[in-house]
């Protein structure tokens, strides 16, 4: 991330100087800061709501029951999660929320999953293989129906906006599997 950030920032500044976009660049920094604040405030609301709901799941023990139910499925991808660990529930709920396009639930539940996975982390501050698998799944955009895409297509008078569903699903599935494969290869190479 260090390298990526360094490249983005320094290349941008060099370009801004040579193309005379200095004013726009400086303005954009404060715009970026502003949208970080706005998105954080939005996240504050939905994350707190889902932390409230998941606390009830924890206090009632339902989180372990759900984990027990989905362990056979989840443990195929996440090998080092012990027993009916709460992270299984958080991962399951996050994947379900993603599948149904419930962005407002998927991100908070994903954060919850990361917290639970971090509880298993013996080397705090360093990403674990389970976290990497989880993040790669989340960057693959698993979704049964891409509602926002269909919405935009429909609003501009596409003949059959729903025709996009199958190709998106196939593309997502192939990319997700490739991403997991890439992760497995890197894992082998970097021990």
């Amino acid at each position: 991330m260090n390298v990526v950030w360094l490249i983005l920032i320094s290349v941008s500044i060099v370009f801004a100087i040579f193309t005379g976009n200095l004013e726009a660049f400086t303005k954009s920094i404060f715009e970026g800061a502003k949208s970080a604040v706005e998105i954080s405030l939005y996240l504050l609301g939905i994350v707190s709501v889902w932390m409230g709901i998941t606390r009830i799941l924890e206090d009632s023990g339902l989180i372990y029951r759900i984990a027990h139910l989905f362990r056979p499925l989840i443990s195929r991808l996440f090998k080092n999660i012990p027993g009916d660990h709460p992270s299984i529930t958080a991962i399951t709920l996050n994947v379900l929320a993603n599948l149904f396009g419930l962005g407002n639930a998927a991100t908070p539940l994903g954060i919850k999953a990361m917290q639970e996975l971090d509880a298993l982390n013996e080397e705090k501050g360093t990403v674990t293989p389970e976290m990497m698998t989880f993040i790669v799944i989340n960057t693959a955009s698993l979704q049964l129906i891409p509602f926002s895409v269909i919405g935009i297509l429909a609003s501009y008078g596409h003949r059959n906006p729903a025709a996009v569903v199958l190709p998106v699903l196939i593309a997502t599935a192939i990319s997700a599997m490739t991403a997991l494969l890439l992760l497995a290869v890197f894992r082998k190479v970097f021990r």
Binding site: M1, I29, S40, S48, G125, V136, I152, V164
Partner: protein, 176 residues
């Protein structure tokens, strides 16, 4: 079919909350106090995420505003023209990992300028639906638990994004 999934999507969260609350009450949990105790964690989590989000957003917005983004797009345009991939689809492919709102705006623009049934629109639609805002996901999820050493995660995600573009383009061409 789509209508059914859409209805199920609307139903799923309310039903889940209802079930959670009823099950909790059945297990003698004081659900109100429980919810409050959980919600109390929210601000601390966001305080962890905020600096990561800010740092990455500043870099991305700066990259777009400085003209560097346009330069990269133009530099690659001839390559993509050679592969017979519309430049609009390529713009989409490099915008989506950086910013969700920018890619939505770009997609609407592509549909409007090239027409709703053009190849550029179809390809962009598949990319839009199958790619994710990688940098945002990384900032939020890693920030939430304060991960500083990401090992090979970032290269894997970026490489997967590149592969994803070609998968989306091929699938779109195969279908439309």
């Amino acid at each position: 079919m789509i209508g059914h999934v859409e209805y199920l999507s609307l139903l799923i969260i309310p039903l889940f909350i209802l079930f959670t609350v009823l099950y909790g009450t059945f297990k003698k949990v004081r659900v109100y106090d429980s919810f409050v105790a959980g919600a109390k964690q929210g601000p601390a989590i966001i305080l962890n995420i905020f600096p990561y989000l800010l740092t990455i957003f500043v870099a991305i917005k700066g990259f777009q505003a400085s003209g560097a983004f346009d330069y990269v797009r133009n530099a690659f345009s001839s390559v993509f023209a050679f592969l017979d991939i519309p430049i609009e689809a390529f713009s989409m492919a490099i915008t989506k990992p950086l910013s969700g709102s920018a890619s939505t705006a770009l997609f609407a623009d592509i549909v409007q300028t090239t027409g709703p049934d053009s190849m550029a629109t179809q390809m962009s639609a598949v990319i839009m639906g199958s790619a994710e805002t990688t940098f945002y996901v990384l900032a939020v999820y890693l920030g939430a638990v304060g991960i500083r050493k990401t090992r090979y995660l970032v290269p894997v995600c970026l490489l997967a994004d590149v592969v994803g573009i070609f998968v989306a383009v091929s699938v779109a061409r195969w279908f439309f």
